[in-house]
């Protein structure tokens, strides 16, 4: 008996995180990390001044699949004017064949 080939074993995940100007997926990109499970590239902090896409929808149109979107959470009472992390975070993936 020969072992069946599992095509999924040849796939690796690439992850793109887009931070957008508003909670709308069609709003402009303000920040963008990339992580590459194929090992072909090594993106790192401060390696680019230009985002890979102009909006979240532009990433969808290029084949990225949305896997998580930041919830809209009201500010903590008493801290309505505080600024902290970026709020509008969208995680995308692509599965890439090795």
């Amino acid at each position: 008996m020969t072992a069946a080939h599992n095509p999924a074993a040849d796939l690796r995940q690439q992850v793109l995180v887009l931070y957008l100007e508003t909670s709308g997926l069609d709003s402009p990109v303000v920040g963008w990390p990339v992580y590459d499970g194929t090992g072909r590239t090594s993106p790192t902090t401060g390696d680019s001044d230009e985002p890979p896409y102009q909006s979240g929808v532009a990433a969808l149109r290029d084949g990225w699949r949305l896997i998580q979107a930041a919830q809209l959470i009201p500010p903590c009472p008493g801290h309505e004017y505080d600024v902290s992390f970026l709020k509008h975070e969208f995680l995308f993936e692509k599965l890439v064949a090795l």
Binding site: T45, Y81, V83, L86
Partner: protein
């Protein structure tokens, strides 16, 4: 001394950059001094006691442009928090995650500054410090921001030898990956103020219209709504630094503080 327009720019950007203010002969000397390391000083050592007369750090801090900026930002005789020589080795393969130094620091009416001195010409390839203009008022803890690899409008430092940058303690920054064949040095000193940080600079131009223009700066990485809160918080900081509780930009603070107590006749 700094003027009000420069201070307002610091309040908006969270940094003050002075290109090539250290003379070439000191930069050459620095490469040797920093290569050997600079002996540490205990936390909280007064500036005047931290570095011996004639030592390199002392002469660096006595340069008029450096001394004037430092005095304008934190006042006379600050304490030395700590100093460090940062070395980015050639092709070391890794950048620092974006971070704020120390731990989350939410003081609204006081701030530390960090001097960063670059003795060499820094090219883009050498991985000069990445910093994010206008990030200093964000309440985040150290490297919890490590996921943010790139932000629109970020500053990837490229500078001539002898450049000094002062950073607000909260500014997001990190050493970028050095993709060159050159060792890159940076000398950092953190200062703690010992006096109230109010009108410590040359305030003769306080009414200059450029002050408000600088304070009203927006940055490309700000989300639309949060960018308004950034200006709100800047107004509060400017009020603390000037003692002028009537200062505002576009009514941001005044509007949401308005709670009239007068009873109608």
């Amino acid at each position: 001394m700094l003027n009000s327009v420069q201070m307002a720019r610091f309040v908006a950007y969270g940094s003050l950059r002075m290109d090539a203010v250290v003379p070439a002969e000191m930069n050459a000397e620095a490469l040797e001094v920093l290569g050997d390391g600079v002996p540490g000083v205990p936390y909280g050592t007064p500036l005047s006691e931290a570095y011996p007369q004639g030592s390199f750090p002392r002469r660096l801090l006595e340069l008029p442009a450096v001394a004037g900026a430092l005095r304008s930002l934190v006042g006379p005789e600050p304490d030395i928090d700590h100093h460090a020589v940062h070395v980015r080795l050639p092709r070391e393969g890794q950048a620092q995650p974006l971070h704020g130094d120390a731990i989350i620091d939410v003081r609204r009416d006081a701030f530390d500054v960090q001097l960063m001195y670059y003795p060499q010409d820094v090219t883009l390839e050498m991985g000069g410090t990445l910093s994010v203009p206008g990030s200093h008022l964000r309440r985040t803890n150290e490297s919890d921001t490590g996921r943010y690899q790139n932000l629109r409008g970020q500053d990837r430092l490229v500078c001539p030898a002898g450049t000094v940058v002062f950073l607000h303690h909260g500014l997001w920054h990190g050493g970028r990956r050095n993709d060159s064949d050159t060792v890159r040095y940076m000398f950092k000193i953190r200062f703690n103020p010992t006096v109230r940080q109010r009108r410590l600079w040359d305030t003769s131009d306080l009414a200059d219209r450029r002050v408000a223009r600088e304070l009203d700066t927006t940055f490309p990485w700000y989300e639309h709504a949060t960018g308004r809160l950034e200006r709100y918080n800047r107004v509060l900081l400017w009020r603390a630094l000037t003692g002028d509780d009537s200062f505002d930009l576009d009514h941001w603070v005044t509007r949401v503080s308005n709670r009239p107590q007068e009873v109608p006749a």
